[in-house]
């Protein structure tokens, strides 16, 4: 009897928490298919009376959503590809290649993790302005090309590559580049997938920096465009919900498909660090 009660409580709480977690997202999806003005009733309808794609049509036809979607994909993909290459190379170097100053530099990098990125933003803006990168895609991409966290993550993983494997390749006369691309990269594949998801999501969801550096409307990423749309269309619930759906769905799908890798990386990055 006592055990039945405990089972009911645990499962009841699990369900309640799941409802709280998912309800806002499900409601967003539902409202995005409603007619204009339908959600502004009391009591608020839970499901659309007549589902319609009008909001999505208007977003892409009039509000330029296609453009923002393209911008977001472009920026997030470039950041992901470049940072993967640079972080993997550096992480491998810090784990497996001896070079002068290695330990000291690595400690410096770790210590710098406490500095919030915003401290650098004002001079970074001036620097990119000098370089002519303000209001260009480059401005949003360039600062994310390498991250301390990414280097750290790869280093943790790369330490498990056996030295004998690398030595054997060297004795066979393989150059360092060939070793990196033919032996190290394949061995690091799991962590590269994890890092790719992390980088893509971080770039996709980033708000403050794109807001600062991309003031030109044609270049804005989805979060920046959505924030300014939501200020113009305060009353237009249905349209804004459709905008939120377009912004969230790509990263949510990415997470659902590659969930295992994502959670693995999260644990590697925090608990074992």
């Amino acid at each position: 009897m006592n055990r039945t009660f405990a089972i009911a409580v645990v499962n009841g709480l699990l369900v309640a928490l799941a409802v709280l977690s998912l309800a806002p997202l499900l409601w967003m999806l539902s409202v995005s298919f409603m007619q204009t003005g339908e959600a502004a009733h009391f009591p608020p309808p839970l499901l659309p009376a007549v589902p319609t794609f009008d909001n999505y049509r208007e977003l892409f036809a009039k509000a330029g959503m296609g453009r923002y979607l393209f911008n977001s994909f472009l920026v997030a993909s470039c950041v992901t590809l470049l940072s993967l290459l640079f972080n993997t190379m550096a992480g491998y170097a810090f784990a497996k290649l001896r070079f002068t100053g290695r330990e000291r530099i690595f400690r410096l990098l770790l210590a710098a993790l406490v500095i919030p990125a915003q401290v650098a933003m004002m001079p970074l803006f001036l620097l990119l302005k000098q370089m002519g990168f303000v209001n260009t895609y480059m401005g949003a991409i360039v600062p994310g090309m390498a991250t301390i966290f990414g280097i750290f993550l790869v280093r943790q993983y790369a330490r498990s590559i056996p030295d004998e494997l690398l030595e054997a390749a060297r004795i066979d006369g393989a150059g360092e580049m060939r070793i990196f691309f033919q032996i190290v990269m394949p061995a690091l594949k799991p962590i590269i997938v994890t890092l790719a998801i992390f980088s893509f999501m971080a770039a996709w969801n980033d708000f403050m920096w794109p807001l600062i550096v991309l003031s030109d409307q044609d270049l804005q990423t989805l979060p920046v465009a959505l924030a300014s749309l939501s200020r113009e269309h305060v009353q237009d619930n249905e349209l804004m919900m459709a905008g939120s759906v377009v912004t969230i769905v790509p990263v949510l799908l990415l997470f659902l498909v590659l969930q295992r890798h994502y959670i693995q990386g999260l644990l590697l990055g925090s608990v074992k660090g």
């Binding site: 990098l109 620097l127 905008g243 939120s244 999260l266 644990l267 925090s270």
Partner: protein, 292 residues
């Protein structure tokens, strides 16, 4: 020799990027914070003057700075413990042997974490709408009058805190879950033999064993919460009556709305110093209590 060269070659691109686009700007920010860099200096660098600690002194005498600092601390002091408590509760539920469909629940709890802050903040703005929001509708069904969640200075920050807890608890939950799974089952066995119930097992076995994880999660969450910006930017624009304007929001306004980049840098450094101080305090406290 060649080995060292190879190492440097592989590390160089990333180190170059981080140096040019992070270390250099951080150092420059310190320099910028002792100048009066503003829109005139932006147009012509000759208008730049060295002002010593004037920006810092000015901020410490600025009621708006203290207001934003108070708001940020409110968000941190209430939001961090609440987030951690919900994360821990969710992790304990997921770890319980009595639960079903745990894979599904874990994914459901984690879903808000990967969503875009701006997009979900837009959703919450409508959920908490005074007239036709779902939340007030739910409350009215149990006889509570509508609350102006985002328009009342007393309610705006609690609403943003609730939002942050909802959005973030899944992240720490995963870390706690891994911590719970690493606690040896014999400890619980021994506690049960000694007659400890569920609560006392949690209090005397789970919590002490999770000590280091709690400390880590606390520090990470806190430094994240000190950087509050997008939530008030989208949900309240810092209002009503500046009750949700955070320190970073002030930095953004100063720097990129009014182009007082010198003063904005000083704001950023004050926040940074505060974060370091609070983190060190927490570490010191943990060491004294023997957590590490």
């Amino acid at each position: 020799m060649t080995r060292s060269l190879a190492g440097w070659t592989f590390a160089a691109p990333a180190l170059l990027v981080i140096t040019v686009f992070f270390f250099l700007p951080v150092a420059a920010a310190l320099a910028l914070s002792v100048t009066d860099f503003d829109i005139y200096a932006l147009a012509d660098i000759h208008n730049l003057r060295f002002v010593g600690f004037d920006n810092y002194v000015g901020l410490l005498h600025d009621p708006l700075f203290w207001k934003t600092l108070g708001n940020t601390l409110y968000f941190v002091v209430v939001g961090v413990p609440l987030s951690i408590a919900v994360s821990l509760g969710a992790a304990v539920l997921l770890h319980s042997k009595l639960g079903r469909f745990k894979g599904f629940f874990r994914t459901a709890y984690f879903a808000p974490v990967v969503t875009t802050v701006v997009a979900v903040a837009v959703i919450w703005r409508y959920l908490f709408h005074t007239r036709y929001g779902l939340v007030n509708w739910g409350l009215s069904s149990i006889g509570i009058d509508p609350i102006d969640w985002l328009g009342d200075p007393h309610w705006a920050m609690p609403t943003i805190i609730l939002f942050a807890v909802w959005k973030n608890f899944g992240y720490n939950m995963i870390i706690f879950l891994a911590g719970l799974q690493s606690i040896p089952e014999d400890l619980y066995e021994a506690a049960r033999i000694d007659g400890a119930g569920a609560w006392r097992q949690f209090r005397h076995v789970t919590l002490p064993m999770l000590g280091p994880v709690l400390l880590l999660v606390g520090i990470l969450t806190m430094s994240g919460y000190f950087q509050l910006f997008a939530e008030p930017y989208v949900m309240t624009q810092g209002g009503p009556l500046e009750s949700t304007k955070s320190v970073l929001y002030l930095m953004y306004d100063e720097g990129f709305k009014w182009w007082n980049l010198g003063n904005a840098s000083a704001v950023a450094f004050l926040l940074f110093v505060l974060m370091v101080a609070v983190t060190s305090g927490l570490l010191w406290l943990a060491r004294r209590k023997g957590v590490e």
